[in-house]
Subunit: 347 residues, 2 copies
């Protein structure tokens, strides 16, 4: 959909080195810790007494994204955000990324440039340096691999394993929107499949579409934590759905949890779309994924510090491991959570 | 070819988390700088006053490897080596890697475990920690993305850009073997295609097959440099062929080069196989790639230090940029080198 608007130069016209030069000549390094970026066998970083945090994600066409309704620029932006979100979930500041692409012959130079525009926009917004990568061909489809590097003082780093009994379980923002945005896009794709003249009907769904197509990493929450004077005891980003992420924290903290259905923050548009699809909105929040909000725990006695913050919601508390990981429904019954999450290996 | 020997459990039986647990439960961390490995949103590293070097590679089935003749274990080993070689080419010591895989439904759990056996063998051999990654599905084929992290004192780091006029151009080991090994494997694959009963005829070609299937990163050369008391002025690993790599050094050093055909080190098996294929062996060395030897420059006055080392060959010297990048043939004529290399985007 994006290739029609512009010139379409076959990638083979430039070759690997030509393509890399064209894609990287706009890079301006922003971080002191970036000693050498693109252009040698490896990039060089230096962080002095800070610790380094590193994460990586692999995204494949047809599994993680569908180019029928995701513009290349948005895809580039989101691919960066997904990785930065993991750095943020360590309570660390993202500094550098590497971007590797495997590209099939169906993509033009311009399509890849549009993808990189999204990459650069994310780098600009988050103050991150693009320092390297690999560009190669694939027999079919597009594969994206991104590695992100961040820094933090050792005492600031928050693991999944630090949740203690009675800690409050909190989430930033609201949940389920990205999943409902995906459902909407999938439905409209099917409509267009049946009738090629039909246009995607996406008006009036700005919020959930933005949640799906242009999510943000909650780097801003790290500043909120500092301002409020809180330090999470455990933290994870919500990429696979609340249920699966909470189970990760409980497993690694050797703890249980009790969360409350009526506390889980959801936007009205998310709820309305869920009703339209006859989905219980709580399912979108628990199992939907891709919201990239933060799930974290804080000591009970810090409740006052966060209770008036508009972007933090307490959804429950940590209990003994023997009590399991439970959802208390609006009706008052308790249901054991399962890590349904999003299993990309189950097809 | 590797899946027949063993049990074949569908990956969907384990799911992503189950597969990751099964693949990572053998990890024993070896490096002090690895503060936290697999199991959180990101790994945590700390290097004190040392600088960090980072590189990444993406390998796709059908482009970089052919599973018809590459056993999964060798593939895992080589995927690590390719990345460590880039760290070594910075004159840095590799310390950690991340491994991401996109796997199609045709692979069993056992096939992926075999791949990881190769990964672990390389980690063991090079003293490197596996600290994270991502495991997901793909619609077709196998894609491998590896990121390697190394450390070095800042003053030890060698870039491609430091070559000076009159510097000696050196290579480690010998060249062209990996390319001839690939030609042999490709030929035997075609034979088997025509006659499914035929067996791969690989006897007597141990050296070139090993060069192709189980290359090594020249980490040992860093110790040689220390022992001999030399410090390369520029360095690159030979992954795309001598010609392309030398042009990288010349371009980034704003220099030219003169290398001599009769000096380029080649093994007898490489030459014999080239003759069998009616290929000029020099072509295998210049444009073949995948040898993962080091190409480096040293000041002219350090010639004595290296001249008797069995694993270092002087193949030429650096000249003014205006003189170009030239090969002096055995017959005495000069040919301008072209970066034919290996262009994975040209099909």
């Amino acid at each position: 959909m994006t290739e029609n608007k512009r010139k379409a130069t076959p990638i083979s016209d430039l070759g690997e080195f030509g393509l890399i030069e064209r894609l990287t000549d706009k890079i301006k390094l922003k971080n002191q810790s970036t000693l050498k970026g693109v252009g040698d066998d490896a990039a060089v970083l230096g962080f002095n007494e800070k610790k380094i945090v590193i994460t990586t994600d692999l995204l494949t066409e047809g599994i993680h994204f569908n180019l029928m309704y995701v513009p290349m620029k948005y895809l580039g932006y989101k691919a960066v955000v997904v990785n930065l979100s993991d750095i943020v979930a360590m309570n660390a500041t993202p500094r550098q990324i590497t971007v590797s692409l495997a590209i099939s012959a169906k993509f033009s130079v311009e399509a890849i440039e549009e993808f990189y525009e999204g990459i650069y926009e994310a780098c600009e917004y988050y103050g991150v340096d693009l320092i390297g990568g690999d560009t190669t061909s694939s027999l079919t489809g597009l594969t994206i691999s991104i590695t992100a590097i961040g820094e933090a003082r050792q005492s600031y780093i928050v693991y999944r394993s630090g949740a203690k009994k009675n800690d409050l379980i909190c989430v930033s923002g609201d949940l389920g929107g990205a999943y409902m945005g995906l459902q909407l896009l999938e439905r409209e794709k099917e409509v267009v499949k049946v009738n090629r003249q039909a246009k995607l009907q996406l008006e009036g769904y700005d919020y959930i579409l933005k949640r799906q197509l242009k999510p943000e990493a909650r780097l801003d929450m790290l500043r909120v934590f500092r301002t409020l004077g809180i330090m999470p005891t455990s933290m994870i980003d919500i990429s696979d759905g609340l249920s699966s992420e909470l189970m990760h924290i409980c497993k690694q903290s050797n703890a249980g949890a009790k969360i409350f259905e009526d506390k889980i923050p959801m936007d009205n548009e998310t709820k309305a779309m869920a009703n339209e699809f006859n989905i219980n909105p709580i399912v979108a929040a628990l199992n939907g994924g891709e919201d990239y909000e933060l799930l974290f725990t804080i000591p009970l006695n810090e409740h006052k510090k966060i209770q008036n913050h508009p972007d933090i919601t307490v959804i429950g508390h940590i209990v003994d491991a023997s009590e399991g990981t439970m959802l208390v429904t609006t009706g008052g019954s308790e249901i054991e959570l399962t890590a349904q999450g999003w299993n990309p290996l189950k097809r």
